[in-house]
Amino acid sequence: MTIYIDRRLNPKDKSLGNRQRFLKRAREELKRTIKEQVKAGRIADVDAEHRVPVPVRGTGEPTFHPDRTSGERQYILPGNKEFAPGDRLPKPGSGGGGSGSEGGRGGADDDFQFVLSREEVLELFFEDLELPDMVKLNLKEAVSFKPRRAGFATSGSPTNINVGRTMRNSYGRRIALHRPKREEVERLAAEIAQLEAQPNRKAVEQRIEALRQEWERLERRRKRIPYVDPVDVRFNRFEAQPLPNASAVMFCLMDVSSSMGEREKDLAKRFFVLLHLFLKRRYERIDIVFIRHTHEAREVDEETFFYSTQSGGTVVSTALEEMQRIIAERYPAREWNIYAAQASDGDNIAGDSERCAALLRNELMELCQYYAYVEIIDERETEIFGSTDNGTSLWRSYRSVGEKWPNFQMTRIARPADIYPVFRRLFARQPAGAARR
């Protein structure tokens, strides 16, 4: 007797572990490929699948195998049509008269590409970037669940019976099936008793008999149609609702005064996008708040934030005050991880920079997980400012914040090409980690 086993329902992806190991092995090369692809493509494309050539370095499997260009060998080939012994055939280009008996694996390696999933791409893209020390939450912690009412169910535990629903169903069913009411039965019984009590039984004998039959019929019917049937019963249904214990809010602050041209805004946008992308991986839920400012600040939607212009002077502190107000109103720091990214060209009204720095130093930085300040400068300025601590008043004032708060970062960028390195630096491993490397 033979045995048939249906394995189709067995878990698939037995090779997934091996695939992971292979990717890990080829990590360096894949990382380089992805980086190049990201550099060439648009930033939004990062968040998608990528086709990559299969890495060769680091994944070779050397063996002792014959060199096909040396020595003497013999081939047996089928399909002779015209050859006679002694005929000479010129060798095709790279040697080896026939293709021999080895074919298969080696040949196709060159054009061999495979698809990395979105997660794998991002994993590579973000490798060795780390979120700053997070005080509040442990990301590895399992998501907690809280039961939440979600309609009714026909099954459940007795404690969850919904009496109102159940009785309503029961009532409807009793009406539909004409279940005799108790009063009706009682009335009949009373009538029978009354008739039986009459002295002249003979005259009403027939009537009693009829009533009795009717009474029995009703009783039977009442038994057959129960008051509460199992089909009536309804239970309260609960669904486990995940509690987002990892939610973040990201504040985008930008100077939109006329000194910020298209180029500056474009750079700023790319920076925000990257930051958002990065946060998206770590948090289930992310809110984004856009605050733009000139001499006054306002919370706006994304469209307005990037694409409409506004005239006016520049008072950076108004944006910070607005942010502070929004945090107090909607994002209590106890429940939210607050990230902020500020982009500016460094212009500020005289005297305000100090106030900004003080606001950050004494109030905002206590609330924020992380604050990144990006100053967008002219390409020509990079040579001048690139490495020095000189610069705009805002830059100089912010430096004092950076000294006090390690989770405050500030950088200058001038070209799109600068963004990625800056981004890396912003999120580079903390000094402790760096020392370990």
Binding site: D13, R21, F22, P66, G79, N80
Partner: protein, 516 residues
Amino acid sequence: MTVTSKSADSGLLFTGSDWNFATLSRTYDAIEKIALDELKLDVYPNQLEIISSEQMLDAYSSVGMPLMYQHWSFGKRFVFEENLYRSGRRGLAYELVINSNPCIAYLMEENTMAMQALVTAHASFGHNHFFKNNYLFRQWTEANAILSYMEFAKKYIAKCEERHGTAAVEAILDSAHALMDQGVFRYRRPPRLSSEKERERARERLEYEEQTYSDLWRTLPARTSDEISDEVEQEVAERKKRLNLPDENLLYFLEKNSLVLQPWQREILRIVRVIAQYFYPQRQTKVMNEGCATFVHYYIMNRLYDQGRIGEGPMLEILQSHTNVVFQPDFDDPRFPGINPYALGFALMQDIQRICNDPTAEDRDWFPDIAGTGAWRETLLDAWANHRDESFILQYLSPALIRNFRLFLLKDKSKDPYCEVASIHNERGYEGIRAALARSYDIGVNQPDIQVVDVDLLGDRHLRLQHNVKSGVLLEEQSRDATLRHVCRLWGYDVSLAGVDSETGATLYERTASAD
């Protein structure tokens, strides 16, 4: 009951292309009857498993074993196979069969019922019979134990990863895999000493030497230099003998003698070695194994059709699939991948049947033993049991078959800009072609012959390997040097590889990998 069994014994086994477990097992019973009663096959009990295409891909990448330890190279293979499959460049096999007891065969769920019948006959009877009866498999593999051994191997390696880290285990596996081809015993059965017995013996030997030690020997007068060189030579010969050198099984040698390996690392080498040894017979019997399975399925399917148990539609489908499998493109065809083992094997088996039943005068000349005896079943059963590809071809490749395939022999010397046609399918060419074809299936000839020749364990511990170069065929250099580094990693001290021409004895090259 009798009524149903009667109706099951005649009439169509199935109609339509959908299968279910009832038709599968009804068909299995009919196939089994023919296989055992008519072909006299002798098989392990069968276990058939239905799998999906994803699972088939998984099975591919773990070299066809149902259980396999984890390693990145399997992931690479998986990515590769998956890619070929998804881009439509390669179809998946219809079945996969494992040399185990019970014999496990995987059937793809996408197969039609006709295909399921075909692959059942092919795998569960053809391959199964071959696994159970061929001398190589009987001698070198243990079908009863392989599944539990693989389970052990998988668990053991997972445990090692837990204890010593994935990287360390991976490094050992990388090195072991590089030497897998050099990790088999070709001529002798592996010694079966348990490590405990071995230790016991080493201890006894040591005790004996201590007991027989005499300080007097030290006082003997100094020897002449001649005597010393004699002495040195003798010493070398002795230590070679003690280490059982030369040794063709590099992995075995390293496992037993490396001074830097931890016990768990030795065990991993052993696991890789056992698996290599397990697959060694398969590589030597590709043509026969596939030929046997193809012949069996062809015979059984035709018998079932003759008995009226398979309809014409399914039979056409079976024949079409069979024809695809045994298709042999000519050498100048762009589809030519080499000689198709299915085609050659099947043709050889059928040819034997023809020679037994209906020989020509030429066949009587060439095969006096079997020509015209009509005993093709016995001849085939005997051949399946007692040959490997090389000897089988040498014994049974007939001139008629050479003509059918229009085989010719091409000689390729690396220094000439041309290849020369040495023999074709004519009187003078048959012998040469037969011998050359047989040789091309001899692993011993086609795989580089590399042996451990010397090491002085008490001295510099320099491990010397020798590559016996045949017909001037060297090793691919880049891969050779990388592999040598792997040997070095396992040995822990310097390792050198010398290429020695097996005819002239001249040293062609020498490479050394130094331990850092």
